[in-house]
Each structure stands twice: as C-alpha cells, then as structure tokens.
Amino acid sequence: MGGSAKPSPSARAAHFGPFGGIFVPETLMAPLGEVAEAYESARADPEFQSELERYLRDYVGRPTALYPCRRLAEQCGGAKIYLKREDLAHTGSHKLNNVIGQGLLARRMGRKKLMAETGAGQHGVATATVAALFGMECDIYMGEEDVRRQALNVYRMRLLGARVIPITSGSRTLKDAINEAFRVWMATAETTYYLFGTAAGPHPYPTMVRDFQSVVGREAREQMLAHEGRLPDYLVACVGGGSNAIGLFHAFLEDDVRMVGVEAAGRGLATGEHAASLTAGSEGVLHGARSKILQTAEGQIRTTHSIAAGLDYPGVGPEHAHLQAVGRATYVGVTDSEALQAFDALTRLEGIMPALESAHAVAHAMELAAELSGDHIVLVNLSGRGDKDIAEVQRVLAEREK
C-alpha cells in the first residue's frame, strides 16, 4: 500500500484529479471567486492564522484528546483502538473547526450575516454558535424532514439567535437545503457569507474546509507518536460529505498508513436505501462539483437513507472520490444496525456515547481490530457526541422491540 500511487493534489487548484471544479450558474461565479480570493489572502496572513489558533485553543477547546479504548479493544480481541475525541470539542463535534475558520474569514470580508445548510443540525449549531460569538445575524437552511427529526438541535439554534428556515422542496432533506441555500446566496452574497459545512460543493469549499479540518489529523499524528512512538496502521472515519475524514486523513497522506472511509450502507447496499456514494455511486455533477453521486441512469439525484442524518447525503467531497480512484484510501459501507451495535458497545464499554455518524466508523474499526493482531493500531475519528441522537436511538430500539 505504501508503494501505491500517492495523490499530489495541488493544494490550491480547483480540481482533485478529474474531480471537483466549479459547476454553478454564472450568478455564483463572482461570489465564489470572492470567497476563494479572500481565503487565499487570509491563509497567507500570519495574523489570521494566529487568531485562528487562538480561537481553536481557547474557544473550541483544542487540542482534543487521543484516547486508547482498552475495554473495547479487549472485546474485539485484536488491534489497539484509539479515538480522536472530536466529540469533546465545543458544540460536540468537529464541525466547529471549520466554522471558526470560515467565521473569521466572513468577518475579515466585512460580512454581517452568516448562512448555512444543515442536515443533522451539528453544522447549523456550530454556525449559529459562531454567529453569536461574532455578533452576526444567522440563517440556517434545513430540510423540513430534518427539522422534524432533529428538534433538539433546531431549538439549540434558535436559542443561539439563529433563524431556522425549513425547506419544503424536493426530498426535504440536506441536499434540498443546500440547493436552496445556494439559490438564496445568489441574490444576497454582497451582505451574506455562505458558510458551507463539508468538504464538498464548488471550489474553494472542498479545499478550504479540508484545510480548516486538517488540524484534526495534525494533532492526532503528533499525539499518536507521543503515545506509541509510531504512526497507526489504519485511520478510520465516517464519510457523509467527508469533512471529518479528510481532516483526519490529510496529515497522513504521505505516510505508510492505510485510510478507510466509512459510508452509510443504511438498510443494506442491496436494498438501494443507503447513502454510500463512493461504494455504490457513479461519477456525476452535484452541488457544483464533479464527484461520485447517487443517481438514476438518467442523471436524476436519488433519495438516500441513513439512520445518521449527517451521512444522509447523495454526494461526497471530490477529494475522497480522487483518493478512492488513485487507491490511496478505501471506502466501505456500514449499515444502520451495525452502527447501532457500535453505539451500544462504545457507550457500555467505554462510557463514551458517539454520534450515530461516528458510530459507523467505530463499527468498522471494531471489525478491523478483530481481524488484526495485537501489535496493530487503529485510529478512529470520533467526530461527534451522541446526545443529539438519543431520541432517535430510543425510537428505533422501541420499534425493534415491538
């Protein structure tokens, strides 16, 4: 594997191999160009970088811990399992890493208002949080179906002062919230910053979000060397749009470390009710980028299913499509049931309740650890905590007991 083709994505280009790019109406070209330009200038500015570092340390609570799961590993009976504890970051997930970065950028650009899409509500909560912190207005676009499923996060956003706008078009989930957010931004970009939540969408978002999230991998790499004196054998992270996974992977791209992204196999890949764009999708253009997407033979976007709202998305970030195509990372599916079992195992054995999204990664890590001998190390990105999912878990378990 170490000898396999290494990707060399030029950090600033709009493309990752044949993937990525900017496929948007002309009305979005200028706003996106302005964000890209402002980001490049901010990125090269030591003052911006030191302010970002300060906020990451004092507000987000970085570095987050790297934790060895002894009881969980013992039960699996194989490799060591480490968790990168993004669940301990402020607002309960890795999302704030990106939101603080883009929030600072929005402020630097003189914008007074933030807008964002959200599925599970974690990105919406993070954005509403930063809007409160910086004294900005905030509009969150959320599919009507997700507003219903994630009532707790909707209320959190409102408490933070954000306006939550339910979207009733299409399938009323994350993809429709993204469509609507882009439509609104076309007409409001002069005053409003669109704070995109994952490493997908048109350039510069996949690159910028990856840059802001790659603090996760940089920390984890250092911490792993401090704990074990060596790098892990495997990295495992869940993939919806792919921001927590690319954030973990990026610092390890040049290392001899295997990378596994875990997608939502929902009710099983064979049922068609899943959200596994990389493992079961095909090349296409959605939300401004060329990537792997779930679509019909005629190129219409399919509806998706996952127990984890944050993975319930028919596309994926273009850099993941590239890493898959060149063989640098592999991608697998984990079903709703397997994720629930992992949720239960991590909660009971370690006292850590993972988000259902992250539980997908834990499920695959457990399977992997069981196959490996004790001198191997598996590092899992625990991208979020599970409090938001308690009602959903309760509902699903009650249904199964019937």
């Binding site: 109406p25 009305t27 939300h287 401004g288 033979a297 219409q300």
Partner: protein, 273 residues
C-alpha cells in the same frame, strides 16, 4: 449560418427584438406539452427554449422547480425530451434551444447528446451550471454537431469574464438580468441598459436578457436595449393555471402574442447592431 443566427439577423433588419419563450419539457404532461409548444410558436415566439427537467436545479425558482418535478413524475427523461424536440421540429421551423443542467447530459454522454439533439432538429443548448472554465469537452462535441453553445452572463461578471463568455458563445449571449433565481418579477432592474451596454461593448453577437421578465411592458423595454427577451416562469405559471382547461393552447397563444407584439419595432427601423 445557424437557424438561431439567421433569425436574429432577420429581426435586426426589421428593427424587432426577439421573443424567446421557455417551457419545461413534459410539463404538465408530455401530450399537453406538445400542444403548448405549438401554441408558443403560433403565438409568434421567435425562439423556443425547452427545459430538460432535473431534480436539483440550482438556478431555478419555485415555479420552474415545481414544473420540472411534475415532468419528472411523468418520466420525462432526456431521451424523451429529444423525442419531443423532434416532434416539434417536424411541425414548425423556428429555432429551438434546449436548456439543461450538466448532470443529465453527462449521464446521457456528452457526445451522444449533442449528436441526438442535432438529429432531433435542436439548434443550440444552454447548460446552466457549466461555466466556460469547465466547458471544453462540451463545446467541442457541440461544435462538431453544429449546435450553438449559449452561455450566461450575470450582473456581477467582471469585464475579463464577459470577454471570455462572449468569445465562447454562439447563437446568442444570455444575460441574466439580476442576481438570484428564475421567477416572475414586477419590475425590471434599473441598471439593465448599463448591464447590456457592458456586454455590447465586447461583442456584436446578439444579447438576450432573461430572469424576471414576465409582461409585454417588460419585453418591450428589454428589447429597446437588447436583442431579445426571455420569458419563462410567467408562461410556466400560465400553463399551471390553465392545465386541464380546453382553452390552454389559446391562452398560451394569446399571451405569447401579447409578449411578441411588444417587441415589434422596439429597436427602431435600422436595428441597433
């Protein structure tokens, strides 16, 4: 010379602006849509834009989104859109342009789509989410099949971009009148003449203005500064309102006729270009 260019030249000689009418293919159902297209032609439209329905169109407002959803429930695939285009071409001579998002034609195969569109009698294609930067392959196959490639410009497109777009566009240049999605508006933007003037300074190709143009007063005013006006959502709304009524085709014909009459002589006897 393409059918589109020929029509714009003919109109310019007469001092008329072009009336371009957009409808969503298969809306409200394929059979009715075929009648609507003929009514649009008979009402006096100079050019028809036929929209390929897509599940996730970024540039469309509520009216056209809903029409596309409805057409999709009637199984209006890109292949059926091409059949509808061919059926229309067998009946009428006016220029026909397809308006589509990129993904459906990617899945069809760019080269196959260009070939089949040309065979169906389509004259040009607008790919709404394909900026010139990404359009190399599409332009090549479209040119190989003698299809015009129409590109869009927005009020925020800087001069260097305007140049790039007008150089690549054939048939006409589509100028988006305002920032935002498609949909009928009461007023035209105040800076429309400036906007068109900035494009005019860089090209002699025809310029059509769309987005938010919904009434005869609008088509008249647009055609005083531009070479054509595109009306979409207002026609789609009329189809929504009148669907199922025996008078649908007549209503469409009458509305299109009012829109068209307003463009006559809008440019003065010598034209402007």
């Amino acid at each position: 010379m393409s059918r589109i260019s020929a029509r714009f030249e003919e109109l310019a000689r007469a001092g008329d602006g072009a009336l371009i009418v957009f409808v969503v293919a298969g809306h409200p159902d394929p059979e009715t849509n075929a009648e609507v297209l003929l009514a649009v032609a008979d009402g006096g439209a100079d050019l028809v834009e036929l929209g390929v329905p897509f599940s996730d169109p970024l540039a469309d407002g509520a009216v056209i989104q809903a029409a596309a959803q409805r057409a999709l429930t009637k199984q209006m695939t890109p292949a059926r859109v091409l059949q509808a285009a061919a059926a229309f071409r067998a009946e009428r001579d006016l220029p026909l342009v397809l308006m589509t998002c990129y993904n459906p034609i990617c899945q069809f195969g760019l080269s196959a789509f260009a070939r089949d569109a040309a065979a169906a009698g389509v004259d040009g294609v607008i790919v709404t989410d394909l900026p010139p930067e990404e359009a190399g392959e599409w332009v090549e196959v479209a040119r190989a099949n003698q299809l015009d490639t129409v590109f869009l410009l927005a009020p925020t497109s800087p001069p260097a971009r305007v140049k790039k777009v007008v150089d690549l566009a054939t048939g006409f240049v589509y100028c988006v009148s305002r920032m935002g999605v498609t949909g009928a508006r009461d007023e035209l933007p105040a800076d429309l003449a400036d906007l068109v003037g900035r494009i005019r300074g860089q090209t002699s190709k025809p310029i059509a203005v769309g987005f938010g143009i919904s009434r005869p007063e609008h088509t008249a005013e647009v055609c005083r500064v531009a070479d054509g006006a595109v009306v979409g959502s207002a026609v789609v709304s009329l189809i929504d309102r009148e669907q199922g009524s025996a008078g649908l085709a007549r209503e469409v014909r009458n509305f299109v006729n009012q829109l068209k009459r307003a463009t006559r002589g809008a440019q003065g006897v010598d034209g402007r270009r």
